[in-house]
Amino acid sequence: MDPKPDVWQGTLALMVLKTLEAMGPLHGYGIARRIEQTSGDVLSVNYGTLYPALLKLEQEGYITSEWGVSDNNRKAKFYKLTRAGRKHLEKETQEWEQATEIVARFLAPEKSS
């Protein structure tokens, strides 16, 4: 039922960090919607998987959370990128680009031959 947890968790974490970098502090629902908008249907069925991922990032010190008030005056928990998170995002992005590049190189000739 679940996608491969490692890949999924890794990509989801990256998406969360990227979202927070682009949007600034944001609550879980907002992150979920944003990811959904950007990625299509990856998250469409299961917003719930986002919360353990947020918790993990927080435990690892890449994001912090704080209760605040949303645009619609609703109480919500806001997540914010930390300095460590920024650095981690940078590193992960680089690695991700490298990885995709390599995979792409593998896939490309296959298609052509």
């Binding site: 629902y29 069925v45 917003y47 719930g48 890449y62 949303s70 609703r74 109480k75």
Partner: protein, 900 residues
């Protein structure tokens, strides 16, 4: 780094769960509200909006569960749950828990205590540099194996050998330290200068001896830390100062570090057993007499360090070769006089030499301890099996409700480990306490007792035992139970009459094994106790009550001449005899119970042939026989007329008389002390009874002190005739006479150190310290084993009765008498115990042979002990069975039938 941080946070996630759950609920609620609001704005009805939001979230509870899994550590959580549940189960049956924990604690405690002592004595390396390459060398003669070395033999060996890096020689001594007007006799050692480099020991400060000092006439001394502390108030200025040793000035050159023990307890049981380590070291510095004394004064121990890459076997074969060279170097006349063709040299590992004499008892103790541990494990296994049977239904229900097999196994293992942990902890405390009591009981000749402490190896050993035990008993019932099919349990429950025959049999077998092992231990204990009793009742051949003894060595510098020595002893004899309450006074070089080296004798047979034999020699002065209570069987005592200028005489022991002159009158026969033809034949004038003290041979020759040649009396190398022992027979309590005797001695010479003031009863008691130690220990183990076996059979029968309540109820309902039921249960117990006792008897017959060396006056298959132990074990077992049997007999059939 960040994953470590995450692990830490996850660990803290185990706590404050409620608050965090609340926070999560609030967060998810706000998420849902926002989503619903968006959906409503998009045109959904409120109900539809909520449904959609929940679906998109993927279920509220599922999300929470996933979140929680990330928050904490699931494995740890279920472990904590197991532990909590386990603790609750154990609390619910306190009797069971107490018995199992106690069983484990006893097993582990005893094992650890003994292991620690054994570890120290047998396994732990000596506190010297590279102890594995240290060896000891001995000389072997046909009548004396492992004899110490003489000075010329050592000199030859040192010069000719190639196998050793270096060699050292040492000798125990007692010396008077008499500066500051406080005479004190201390243990000391003469050591060659090479000893300290061989051992790899540096002084605390100052220096050790130089090889130049290792020649006669250099009065330098090393102090032990303790002596430095006690006598010289830890004054560092002591270096270079002169102190008085045996009335001679010695220059202090160094102080040895605290804890330096050398020589390591030369194991001698008896009066001069050096239970106290040496406190002074003086150079060996062989005298000319010693260096030229071929064929005499074999009184020094040799230690050596092997060359690198030389094995003991290689060194030993070189020693074998050197034996020829040495024998060739001996003056032929001496060899002839010694009655040997060849002297053989042998090499042994030092470690084993130190541990040697206590090795056998310690191994027996290890075996006993292993048995106790086995019994305690078996016991715990039995108890857990019984309990597992009682918990069948609970576990069946749990697995029906979805607990996986692994989960059940883990639960049971956790319970087992919990028991092991509690038992192990208490066991460790018991071990600490037991070790201390063990050492306080220990005879003084166990090497290195002051250094025994529980160390990492021991803790690892105990941990290993604990965990192994836990696995052993935890796994067996767990696997057995978790494999159960649900129907089987339900069916069994419906007709619990037939419940688990196979399991009952297994428990029965375990109890039987337990009884067998307990019997072996108890037989061993019984034999040792009987032997000890025999030892105490043994006809000693002298009367130890009302005898005061002390040792009175006269230092060479104050007493250089034989006349002075003789006169002091003679004066004391007269003055002490005049004290009130004194019945008889005598001196000898060799009190009963004291182990002294034997000497060479020539015996003239009736056919005029002579035989050379090594016999115990005792020189006596005054009324020695009367003072010690040795009685005359034939002939006469020595008198004041048996002097240097009269006929040379001897008194011999009964055994000696019978051995050489059987069916003849020994009085009038001739014997020669020493083998040189220059020495006179001595006429046997009397025969006395044997002294049965185990410390020495029974073949003993007594000779008058007055007939010791002047040269021998005044010589200071062996010093045997200038360090006589006083024996005073008193009419009152001998201890009260001590001060008066010492005052008399000090009135003649205030600087004289008096050593070993003890009553003969005290000497006797310390001479049986080793057998008492073994007996007490094995006795304790026997007691523990008995206790454990009884608990085992009681536990099994109790559970059997519980299981059979239904069956018993039916029997009673059908008219069975109380006595029949009682008999039924007792028979079951008797069958188990009886089988165990029978097997144990056979095992014991084979195993008690190991005790042979430790027994005195009792055969290893002593029928009385075997029968007694069997009867004891059976009756105690029956007593333990009686309690559940009575409970069975009182079963109310109505209750029993409704019980299901």
């Amino acid at each position: 780094m960040s994953s470590l941080r995450a692990l830490g946070l996850r660990f803290t996630g185990l706590f404050y769960k409620e608050r965090k759950d609340g926070e999560l609920a609030a967060e998810l609620e706000s998420h849902l509200q926002m989503h619903i609001a968006d959906n409503v704005r998009a045109g959904m009805s409120p109900a539809e909006a909520r449904r959609d939001a929940l679906i998109k979230l993927g279920g509220l509870d599922q999300t929470k569960e996933r979140y929680r899994a990330r928050r904490g550590i699931p494995f740890l959580e279920s472990l904590l749950q197991d532990i909590r549940f386990g603790l609750r189960m154990l609390r619910k049956s306190p009797g069971f828990t107490a018995v199992v924990v106690l069983t484990l604690a006893l097993g582990i405690g005893a094992t650890t205590a003994i292991f620690t002592v054994v570890n120290t004595v047998l396994i732990r390396p000596l506190p010297f540099k590279q102890p594995s390459s240290l060896v000891m060398l001995w000389e072997n003669f046909p009548y004396c194996t492992k004899c110490p070395f003489s000075a010329p033999d050592f000199t030859f060996l040192q010069r000719s050998q190639n196998s050793f890096e270096s060699m050292g020689i040492f000798q125990n001594r007692e010396l008077d330290v008499s500066d500051n007007g406080r005479p004190e006799r201390v243990m000391a050692a003469r050591v060659s200068a090479s000893i300290f480099p061989i051992l790899g020991i540096e002084p605390l400060f100052g220096r050790t001896f130089t090889s130049e000092e290792d020649t006669s006439g250099n009065n330098v001394v090393l102090l032990s830390y303790r002596l430095w502390q006690r006598r010289y108030a830890m004054d560092k200025g002591i270096i270079g100062r002169s102190i008085e040793i045996d009335r001679q000035p010695y220059i202090v050159v160094g102080v040895m570090p605290l804890g330096f023990t050398f020589p390591i307890a030369p194991v001698v049981t008896g009066l001069f057993s050096s239970s106290h380590p040496a406190e002074l070291w003086i150079p060996m510095a062989f005298t000319r007499t010693e260096l030229e004394g071929w064929g005499s004064m074999y009184n020094s121990d040799v230690i050596a360090r092997l060359e690198p890459r030389t094995t003991i076997a290689q060194a030993d074969s070189e020693a074998e070769l050197l034996s020829n060279g040495l024998s060739a170097l001996y003056p032929p006349a001496v060899l002839k006089a010694l009655d040997v063709a060849r002297i053989k040299l042998a090499v042994y590992p030092y470690q084993r030499e130190v541990a040697g004499p206590v090795r056998e008892p310690l191994l027996v103790l290890m075996a006993a301890v292993g048995l106790v541990l086995l019994i305690s494990c078996t016991n715990v296994a039995t108890l857990l099996l019984s309990r597992a049977a009682a918990r069948q239904r609970e576990l069946a229900v749990r697995s029906a409700l979805g607990a996986t097999r692994a989960r059940v196994v883990r639960q049971l293992l956790t319970e087992g480990l919990l028991l092991a942990a509690v038992g192990g902890t208490i066991g460790l405390m018991l071990a600490r306490w037991g070790m201390r009591s063990l050492l306080s009981l220990a005879p003084p000749d166990i090497p290195l007792p002051q250094q025994v402490s529980i160390d990492v190896a021991v803790v690892a050993f105990v941990g290993g035992i604990s965990i192994l035990t836990a696995l052993l008993f935890g796994l067996a019932p767990a696997l057995q139970l978790s494999g159960l099919a649900l129907q089987q349990v339900v069916e069994d429950g419906a007709r619990s009459v037939t419940s688990g025959r196979a399991k009952q049999r297994l428990r029965g077998v375990l109890v039987t094994i337990e009884f067998a092992m307990a019997l072996v231990l108890l037989v061993g204990a019984g034999l040792l106790i009987r032997s000890f009793a025999k030892l105490l009742q043994a006809n000693l051949g002298f009367r130890p009550d009302h005898v005061l003894t002390l040792s009175l060595p006269l230092p060479y510098n104050a007493y250089p001449k034989a006349a002075l020595i003789r006169s002091l002893y003679q004066q004391l004899l007269e003055q002490i005899a005049a004290l009130p309450g004194v019945a008889a006074v005598g001196f000898s070089n060799d009190l009963p119970l004291e182990n002294r080296d034997s000497e060479g004798f020539q015996i003239e047979r009736s056919d005029s042939g002579t035989i050379n034999r090594s016999l115990d020699a005792t020189w006596v002065l005054g009324n020695y026989f009367e003072a010690t209570g040795i009685s005359l069987l034939q002939g006469r005592w020595f008198t004041a007329e048996d002097r240097a200028d009269s006929q040379s005489v001897a008194i011999i022991s009964q055994t000696l008389a019978q051995r050489f002159w059987p069916n003849e009158d020994a009085v009038g026969k001739r014997i020669r002390w020493g083998t040189s033809p220059k020495l006179p034949w001595r006429t046997v004038v009397g025969v006395v009874n044997d002294v049965n003290d185990r410390a020495s041979g029974r073949a003993r020759v007594y000779m008058p002190y007055l007939q010791v040649p002047d040269g021998a009396v005044q010589e200071n190398v062996v010093g045997e005739w200038r360090s006589m022992n006083l024996a005073v027979r008193t009419r009152t309590d001998p201890e009260t006479l001590g001060p008066a005797v010492v005052r008399k001695i000090h009135s003649l010479d205030p600087d004289l150190a008096v050593a070993h003031i003890r009553t003969m009863t005290q000497v006797l008691s310390s001479s049986v310290a080793a057998p008492r130690f073994n007996t007490v220990l094995v006795g304790i183990f026997g007691g523990v084993a008995l206790f454990l076996a009884v608990i085992g059979v009681y536990g099994v029968l109790s559970y059997m009765v519980t299981e059979q309540t239904h069956e018993i109820g039916i029997r009673i309902a059908l008219g069975a008498e109380h006595a029949e039921i009682l008999g039924l249960v007792l028979r079951q117990g008797a069958k188990l115990a009886g089988a165990g006792v029978a097997i144990g008897l056979f095992a014991a017959l084979g195993l008690t042979r190991l005790l042979r060396g430790l027994l005195y006056g009792v055969s290893v298959t002593d029928p009385l002990t075997f029968a007694g132990v069997a009867v004891l074990l059976m009756s105690v077992a029956m007593l333990a069975c009686y309690i559940p049997a009575r409970r069975a007999a009182r079963v109310d059939p109505m209750v029993a039938l409704r019980y299901e």
